[in-house]
């Protein structure tokens, strides 16, 4: 079985062992969210054991205790990448004026099983210089914090109670808003996935025999509405499909999770 450590992603656990889901959920009721397939897909790939233990109010050891019986080997020597250490209240929060705060409550969205990411990103993009986004949520949105930090945002989380966390996001003046990101060639899988979160059609071609996967995908693309993206679950990177996509004016992003597990996101250029 796989060796895991504090930095191992939850998605890896779930993939390695079918029992890992229940084991993780049993650690903290907060992890009940993982039962929601959408949130699971969204969170698990971005959240490490260490990050999850912060959200769940437990420690990485609580995870290891539950996971060891499932056959995972634990490597405790690896120290967690601690980039989300609780900081002092940063300056931007101290200097906030109420007028500059944009509030966004995503609790209802999450309860109903929807991914709030699009909503959040929209709000983030609309932030005026000097404004601060106050995200109201039921847990500390660690993956989101990391994602936005990469884009030059400062953040600060304040736990009001067990079910209420306020997180403040602020764009530091020095770094320009990455508006160009949406059109840049270097745009990665995660960003594109966000862009098409609500606008995806899924096709699973893993069980099809060659050359049916390619024909199925091309068929699906023909019927694909302009603004939508096609999410393909494949066994391997379909290299021969790629030139066909370019020819048909489609662009693509590929995510290879493991041998035999590849995802593609195909959209119009």
């Amino acid at each position: 079985m796989k060796t895991i450590n504090a930095n191992t992603k939850i998605a890896t656990l779930l993939k390695e062992s079918p029992d890992a889901l229940e084991a993780v959920i049993s650690i903290s009721p907060k992890f009940n969210k993982l039962r929601n397939p959408l949130l699971r897909k969204l969170m698990a790939a971005r959240t490490s054991i260490n990050m999850a233990s912060k959200v769940g109010g437990c420690t990485a050891n609580d995870f290891f205790k539950k996971l060891e019986p499932l056959g995972f080997t634990i490597d405790k020597n690896i120290i967690a990448d601690d980039s989300t250490e609780q900081k002092q209240v940063p300056e931007f929060v101290q200097n906030i004026t109420v007028a500059d705060i944009v509030e966004l409550d995503v609790r209802a969205e999450i309860e109903s099983g929807k991914d709030p990411l699009n909503l959040i990103m929209k709000a983030v993009k609309q932030l005026q210089p000097g404004q601060v986004l106050k995200l109201i949520n039921s847990f500390e949105p660690v993956p989101l914090i990391l994602l936005l930090e990469k884009q030059g945002f400062e953040s600060y989380s304040e736990t009001v109670n067990d079910n209420l966390v306020h997180t403040f996001f602020h764009k530091s003046q020095a770094t320009p808003i990455k508006e160009a990101d949406t059109s840049k060639a270097g745009e990665g899988w995660d960003e594109m996935l966000q862009r098409f979160t609500d606008k995806m059609e899924t096709v699973d071609v893993r069980q099809l025999e060659m050359p049916l996967p390619m024909l199925t995908i091309l068929d699906a693309l023909e019927k694909l509405p302009d603004e939508k993206a096609l999410y393909v679950i494949h066994k391997r990177i379909p290299v021969f499909l790629l030139p066909e996509l370019t020819e048909r004016k489609f662009d693509y992003r590929i995510k290879e999770v493991a041998d035999g597990e590849v995802y593609l996101l195909i959209f119009r250029t």
Partner: protein, 429 residues
């Protein structure tokens, strides 16, 4: 869990196994064309002579067989929806062949059937045996049966028999182990190789790849079974006629049978072409389809050769030479030139980008090679081929020389384009 268990068995063969074969083949092609240019004189005489034996074996083993072995290590697992049994056997097969082929060719070139040729022969036989075992176990372990893989497997058995007979012929020069002289067995050796190995194998693989590259829904397993049956019975009949010779007219039966099989195969490709979704056919596929049509030439020549054999009881040497030339430098070379750039860029793309694909936009696999160079290759190659073949038929040294220069140029450009793919560095993401 069940789904992921079946998924893990689907695994691409590592590029590390496949790429050496491609590189070796490219260098062999270049070597063969250099030999061709320096020994054009030989093509005005008898076909059983040192340089021609050397060139033929660089072409059949170093060029044709090596690239097929490389590609099929990648392709067979895809055909049988399983993984290659052993990378070690694949490396073994490469190393043995890589050492054996130059030894053998060296032996032929100086016409000394002593230890270099004998060792070379052994190495080649063992290389093919490793490949045969690897393919056989991979297929046995897979639950999926594929008619294409059956073609490949049967072809490999024929290749194995061809190399065994070849080895015996080499030994037969120094110690009589066969009932007759080595030259006597040349037609058997050559046709077990040409029909059993190349024709069967190329049809097996092309019948999958051509529809795939044309993006065609066409599939006709029944027709492929017929083709398979016809080729194998023709070859078995040919072997029987060889061992128990009767009237030479009987040779028409296997020839006509092969002719029908080729006709059916062309029909198969035509149907795939008709039902294609991709309207614009790219240059590589055009060259591959041309190669399929080129198959008709040697059959027609063969019929003429047999007619001569019967009517004037004499071998038409230039016809036989051009027969061999059309097969190795025509049909086989054309399909390899086309298919190389339909497979190699994708293998290298996978090597360079599959780990980084999630990061962002990746270049198109087909942009890894230079398509203008490819067009030049196609044009220069076809001109060189026609010039040289005409040169053999007419016995004109000037035509042979010019043709050989064109073919050498083809090989240089081909190597350049192949190296360009090999050297591809990932773009900054």
């Amino acid at each position: 869990m069940v789904a992921s268990a079946t998924n893990t068995t689907v695994k691409n063969t590592s590029y590390k196994v496949v790429l050496p074969f491609y590189l070796y083949a490219a260098i062999s092609f270049l070597t063969a064309t250099i030999f061709l240019l320096t020994s054009t004189e030989a093509f005005t005489g008898h076909y059983f002579q040192p340089q021609i034996l050397a060139i033929t074996h660089i072409m059949t083993l170093g060029w044709g067989t090596m690239i097929i072995l490389g590609a099929s290590h990648q392709l067979v697992p895809v055909l049988i929806e399983s993984k290659l049994y052993s990378n070690i056997l694949a490396y073994t097969s490469f190393i043995l062949a890589a050492i054996g082929i130059p030894l053998l060719v060296y032996g032929f070139n100086i016409f000394d059937m002593g230890w270099p040729a004998q060792f070379g022969g052994w190495f080649v036989v063992l290389a093919i045996l490793s490949y045969l075992i690897n393919i056989a176990i991979s297929m046995a372990k897979s639950k999926n049966e594929s008619i294409h893989a059956v073609f490949v497997f049967t072809a490999t058995i024929w290749l194995f028999l061809t190399t065994i007979l070849g080895l015996a012929q080499v030994y037969n020069f120094t110690k009589l182990i066969l009932p007759k002289g080595s030259l006597h067995y040349l037609t058997l050796h050559a046709h077990a190789g040409i029909i059993g190995w190349f024709l069967l194998l190329i049809m097996g693989i092309a019948s999958r790849l051509i529809p795939m590259f044309l993006i065609s829904k066409y599939s006709n397993v029944k027709l492929l079974r017929w083709i398979y049956g016809l080729i194998n019975s023709a070859l078995l009949l040919f072997v029987a006629l060889f061992l128990y010779p009767g009237s030479e007219a009987l040779l028409f039966i296997p020839v006509i049978t092969i002719f029908i099989a080729i006709g059916l195969f062309i029909y198969y490709c035509y149907c795939a072409y008709q039902q294609r979704i991709r309207k614009q056919v790219d240059e590589q596929i055009k060259l591959s389809l041309l190669s399929v049509l080129m198959l008709l030439l040697p059959v027609l020549l063969l019929i003429i050769v047999i007619v001569f054999l019967i009517s004037v009881s004499r071998e038409q040497l230039n016809l036989i030479l051009s027969y061999g030339f059309i097969i190795f430098f025509g049909w086989i070379t054309a399909i390899i030139l086309g298919m190389t750039f339909k497979t190699l860029p994708f293998i290298v793309w996978n090597k360079v980008y599959h780990h980084r694909s999630g990061l962002g936009k990746t270049p198109n696999p087909k942009d890894l090679f230079n398509s203008s160079i490819f067009k030049a290759i196609a044009i220069i190659y076809i001109s060189g081929f026609i010039l040289f073949a005409t040169g053999i038929l007419l016995g004109t040294t000037m035509l042979l020389k010019t043709g050989a220069i064109f073919l050498l140029l083809t090989a240089v450009l081909y190597n350049w384009n192949v190296l360009k793919v090999f050297m591809h560095k990932p773009e900054q993401l």
